[in-house]
């Protein structure tokens, strides 16, 4: 599949705004299609083999084996912004708070940084703004004309334990309200009990409800606890048609970790090889620093390749990370370490 830009505000200048650049999705020489639901194959679920210690070792060497410096580092941090779902999911969210977030989403970097880096033509924005259903309309309005999609957490987020019909209905309402992306949560108990058909049916139902909206399936990896559970849930969600698999709600005690991400990314790779379909990945929760951003990008690049550095296949779920990235970019320009208060908050 050729990556379709999320929006199409064309520009003749070079380089093109980041959102319209498209690259083919190829893995090990094979061009992949967008994911769609396929029949549940229990062999793939039961055939999962994950060695926790080995995964942890590999995750640790991911950090040690790769680093980016200077201009490359700056470029990679910009990439992290482009792949960021700028998020607010708090009990005290309000319309104004969401509007403030949207303003930052439109202009993630201060003008002098954009000019200093010479990236005016990129028209860099974040990948999406992620809010509760209640603020979808507010966000859509605030982002009008920016091309930035609104993502809504849905389906009984974060616990996912309200009646199925209500969860499906919630997705319908969010889509109607203008959400182009839907982040659903799965019923974790289905995983604990090995109810793969139920899990598959649930995710498939959500996907159907989401229609053309991009659907990210949150596995609640902090709740699932074991890496094998994470892998099994990943397989079922992908077969049920999820466009993305996502680690966490941000509400679990353990959020996105590199070992968990590595397991999910390996599942995406195997799934692509077996099905010919590309599924995206979204680590969320606990990713706060610019260093973490480049760590995850390097992992995506090494494990899946360049196509998974596009917002169509990779997103960070983050709220605080943007500020740290902005500080690092300023440091890149000035050579001085910046302070948080010098940058507009989201």
């Amino acid at each position: 599949m050729a990556l379709q830009p999320v929006t199409s505000n064309n520009s003749a200048s070079h380089p093109k705004p980041h959102t319209v650049q498209s690259i083919p999705v190829v893995l090990n020489g094979r061009t992949l299609e967008a994911n769609r639901r396929i029949p549940l194959n229990l062999d793939w679920v039961e055939g999962v083999r994950v060695n926790t210690s080995a995964v942890e070792r590999r995750a640790a060497t991911h950090l040690a084996r790769r680093t980016v410096k200077k201009e490359t580092q700056a470029a990679w941090l910009l990439r992290a912004i482009a792949c960021m779902d700028l998020t607010t999911l708090s009990g005290d969210d309000s319309a104004d708070r969401v509007r403030r977030l949207c303003a930052k989403a439109r202009n993630p970097l201060q003008r002098h940084i954009v000019e200093g880096l010479g990236i005016e033509d990129l028209h860099l924005t974040v990948g999406a703004v992620c809010v509760y259903h209640a603020f979808v309309e507010t966000a859509v309005k605030a982002l009008e004309g920016s091309g930035i999609p609104v993502a809504a957490v849905s389906a009984g987020f974060p616990a996912g334990l309200s009646p199925l019909a209500e969860r499906v209905e919630e997705i319908h309402r969010s889509v109607e309200a203008g959400a182009q992306e839907i982040d659903i949560v799965i019923t974790r108990a289905h995983v604990f009990n090995g109810e793969w058909q139920a899990l598959y049916d649930e995710v498939a139902a959500f996907k159907q409800a989401a229609g053309t909206a991009h659907m990210k399936a949150i596995l609640g990896t902090g709740d699932l606890m074991t890496l094998r559970n994470v892998a099994r849930a990943s397989w079922v969600a992908m077969m049920a048609g999820a466009d993305f698999i996502k680690t966490s709600t941000g509400k679990e005690s353990i959020n996105a970790t590199l070992p968990v991400s590595l397991v999910m990314v390996r599942c995406i790779r195997d799934y692509a090889e077996r099905s010919g379909s590309a599924v995206g990945f979204k680590p969320a929760g606990g990713i706060r620093t610019a260093k973490q951003a480049t760590d995850w990008l390097a992992m995506m690049k090494d494990e899946l390749g360049r196509p998974w550095l596009e917002p169509s296949l990779f997103r960070f779920g983050a709220s605080g990370m943007l500020g740290d990235i902005e500080r690092q970019l300023e440091h890149h320009l000035t050579g001085r370490y910046s302070a948080t208060y010098r940058h507009p908050i989201a």
């Binding site: 942890e56 040690a64 201009e71 490359t72 700056a74 470029a75 990236i119 990129l122």
Partner: protein
């Protein structure tokens, strides 16, 4: 490229480590290094220097002294001179020095890492995250052993002056593995770093000066291999420790054959990396990266032979090839490089030739498309498939980033293929089923086994090989023992220089025996005991055995090489003895003692005509009776030990256990001492079989008729056929056949120095372990010296099995 363009390409840019500090250090030394002898920098006697260079650029880094034999003399002299004062220090005082060295390494870790990478070509990530931290850890750990030396190793003493030769693949880490235990045990050291990579050893010498290590305790010689040989041959060296190729190990064995120098060798390998169909394949692929694409594959324990279960072979190969595409080969000082430079053009050429030879023999060669740097010594990661056990690239160590891959069908075949090698250093086993993994771990002939991991090292865990990968262990308690000897050993009287005159002089002239054989002796036919059967000697000859007063006691079979061959065959076929439960082995031994008690008087009676009064105790006491009684006790001792000689569980950092398991060495050849024909023979045989070895023992020529008594006991005591084989004849002649036999894994010679020297020289073929009386005559009548752990240590080799856990 602009930032906006980089935003699209998303390539890794350069991420160079700044070498400034290391370069300044080289400049401070004016890029010329003398040798470190007696606590000072000493110019080489030759006045000559050789260069060392950066293999990634070819650029010369520094000139280093070219030592010669005069420097060897000076260094050994300095080490000997420093020895008494170093040994006079308290354990605590030595511990303080080792601790200070650990701290000093840590304080200067980055400079050492950069220097290592410049001199060796390994990626800075590895020298920074693996080599140097392990160096510091090794000194910390051994500071602890220094502190605990007296309490944990009572009745042991240091070997003395240790000569050490280390390779270029992990220059400072191997330096630490050698120096830390040697110093902790109270030895002084002369060490020769590899010609290609001398710099970090010299930097360490400077750190030793900074912490005030007493002069002469550590001496660093930079010289060529020939001068290195002079070091190990030097009579002032008491112990030799070597890490390097099996080929060089063999020349060291030969060079030290005429000495009682204690030896530990850590040699080459062709270690299997076994992947079962239920393994986490993605993790196994990363394991391979750590196994064969670590340090450019220049690792003695590299998992260089991939054995994968047929069912998942193609899947795994596909994953491996994909992974190889993302390996970055390039300047080793770049922090985001996976594979650095090969150490030298010579090594690069050797790798290239091996790969070409493999392809010529039919291997399919796969290399990723990633470009190599244009200059410098680089070789791409390489996968060779369509290879078979008969291929050169499967049998021989390549010592480069080259993996050979084969398939297996069943766990039994995996074990067979894994062990189908002359080497036995390490093995890596991947399966999500702990039963499957541990079952193979127990079968594989290797000193280190990594379950679901690979190339894990820690100072607390023993490292070392089986078979032609050498012997001795480095790390942990087992590693400390390599630098210690029992105190009592040095108090024993000297062994005879020459072999005793053979009592079987001229076989082709038996008619010269004029005195008629005593009737009571002639009707007692003594044969060889092979495979549980009494066997006539292949030669068809017998030889007369005379008593202490010259009387003819009888005739013993005259064994020859074919008897030895048959006996070794029988011993190898009885290898199931090692798998018999320890409880069962104990039962068999107790039963043996029981039966000996029954026959005590007749055995003593016959023996008394051969052996004189007790040599050490009350002259009136008859040795024969004492020998038999002590033999019975000794059997009890080893029956007791059979189920009590246990291993350890090491605790390296991280979530895993490392099981240090003593295993039987295999088939052991034993040349029994003359001084106590029964007790000496049994002391050796029993310690061997108690822990599961099988033996081919040659009784002393003083009284070989003892085998007639022994096989009757063995036959009636349920000792399985082939566990003990007894071959009488001329010991020196049989010793040669045994020593040369590749089916014998260890040989013990407790006879004259001349015979011990011959055994050492003849046993280098398969690098079998040699244990001798080290020029002493053991007191077989003293249980404190003639039985127990010292013997069991030699009867076993330690296998360290790493088992990480976690869900």
């Amino acid at each position: 490229m602009s930032i906006a363009e980089k935003f699209y390409t998303m390539e890794y840019g350069a991420a160079p480590e700044d070498p400034k500090e290391a370069v300044q250090w080289l400049d401070r030394h004016h890029r010329r290094f003398d040798e470190f002898i007696g606590g000072a920098w000493v110019q080489p006697a030759s006045g000559e220097y050789q260069t060392t260079s950066d293999p990634s650029t070819g650029e010369t880094l520094a000139e280093v002294a070219k030592g010669n034999t005069a420097d060897v003399e000076a260094a050994v002299f300095a080490a000997r001179k420093a020895l008494p004062a170093w040994q006079a220090l308290s354990c605590h005082e030595r511990a303080r020095y080792l601790y200070a060295l650990a701290r000093q390494v840590q304080k200067h870790s980055r400079r050492l890492a950069v220097l290592e990478t410049m001199d060796n070509g390994k990626p800075i990530r590895e020298s920074r995250d693996i080599d140097i931290p392990l160096v510091a850890r090794h000194f910390y750990h051994h500071a602890g052993w220094a502190q605990l030396l007296e309490s944990e190793f009572p009745n042991y003493q240091a070997c003395g002056v240790v000569g050490q030769i280390i390779p270029w693949n992990f220059p400072l880490l191997m330096f630490a593995w050698k120096v830390a235990p040697a110093l902790a045990a109270g030895n002084t050291v002369v060490i020769k770093p590899a010609k290609y990579t001398p710099l970090t050893a010299l930097a360490f010498a400077e750190l030793a000066m900074e912490v005030g290590l007493p002069p002469g305790v550590l001496n660093v010689l930079t010289c060529d291999a020939k001068t290195g040989q002079a070091l190990i041959e030097h009579p002032g060296i008491d112990k030799v420790a070597f890490t390097g190729s099996t080929e060089v190990g063999r020349t060291i064995r030969l060079a030290t054959a005429n000495s009682t120098k204690k030896l530990s060798l850590e040699l080459g390998g062709k270690s299997p990396f076994v992947v079962f169909d239920d393994a986490d394949l993605d993790s196994a692929v990363e394991g391979l990266v750590d196994a064969i694409w670590f340090n450019q594959g220049q690792v003695c324990c590299a998992g260089s032979r991939l054995l994968v279960q047929e069912r998942v072979a193609e899947t795994l190969y596909t994953k491996v090839r994909a992974r190889m595409e993302s390996l970055r080969v390039g300047p080793p000082l770049d922090k985001a490089i996976d594979i650095g430079a090969i150490v030298s053009p010579v090594q690069l050429e050797s790798i290239r030739k091996m790969v070409d030879a493999g392809v010529a023999e039919g291997a399919r060669c796969w290399q990723p498309s990633n470009p190599l740097p244009e200059k410098g010594c680089f070789f791409p990661p390489t996968l060779l498939t369509d290879v078979h056990p008969a291929a050169t690239v499967v049998q021989e160590e390549i010592f480069g980033p080259v993996l050979v891959a084969m398939t297996f069908r069943t766990p039994a075949e995996a074990a067979e293929l894994a062990n189908n090698t002359i080497y036995g250093l390490a093995a890596s086993i991947w399966s999500e089923n702990i039963n499957v993994a541990l079952d193979l771990a127990s079968q594989v002939k290797a000193g280190v086994v990594w379950v679901n991991c690979t190339n894990q090292f820690d100072a607390a865990c023993g490292f070392g090989g089986y078979r032609e990968s050498g012997y001795g262990r480095e790390g942990g308690r087992e590693g400390m023992l390599e630098y210690l000897t029992p105190e009592w050993l040095h108090t024993l009287p000297a062994a005879p220089e020459k072999a005793a005159r053979p009592s079987a002089p001229e076989i082709d002239a038996p008619e010269e025996t004029t005195s008629p054989l005593i009737t009571s002796n002639i009707d007692r036919t003594v044969k060889q005991y092979i495979g549980g059967k009494q066997a006539r000697p292949d030669s068809g000859y017998s030889f007369p055995v005379y008593g202490r007063d010259g009387e003819l006691l009888g005739e013993a079979p005259l064994g020859n090489r074919k008897d030895v061959r048959n006996a070794v065959e029988a011993a190898r076929n009885a290898s199931g003895w090692a798998k018999t439960s320890a409880h069962n082995r104990a039962q068999v031994l107790y039963f043996l003692a029981e039966n000996m008690i029954q026959r005590r008087d007749e055995i003593a009676h016959r023996l008394s005509r051969a052996v004189g009064p007790h040599p050490r105790n009350d002259q009136s006491e008859i040795q024969a009776g004492v020998e038999v009684d002590l033999s019975i006790e000794r059997i009890f001792t080893y029956a007791a030990w059979a189920d009590k000689y246990e291993g350890f569980v090491h605790h390296p950092p991280g979530r895993n256990i490392t099981i240090a398991m003593p295993e039987a060495v295999g088939a052991i050849g034993i040349l029994a001492p003359s001084e106590a024909p029964l007790l000496g023979l049994l002391s050796l045989v029993l310690s061997a079989i108690a822990v599961g070895n099988t033996v081919v023992a040659v009784p002393s020529d003083r009284y070989p008729l003892i085998i007639g008594d022994l096989y009757q006991l063995l036959d009636t005591s349920d000792v399985p056929a082939g566990v003990v084989n007894l071959v009488a004849g001329r010991p020196a002649e049989l010793a040669k056949t045994l020593a040369e036999h590749d089916g014998i894994e260890a040989i013990w010679c407790f006879r004259s120095n001349e015979e011990a020297d011959a055994v050492r020289a003849a046993s280098i073929g398969n690098m079998k372990q040699v244990w001798t009386n080290d020029g002493h005559e053991y007191d077989w009548f003293n249980p404190a010296q003639a039985e127990g752990r010292w013997f069991l240590q030699h009867a076993t080799q330690v296998k360290n099995i790493w088992v990480p856990y976690g869900e």
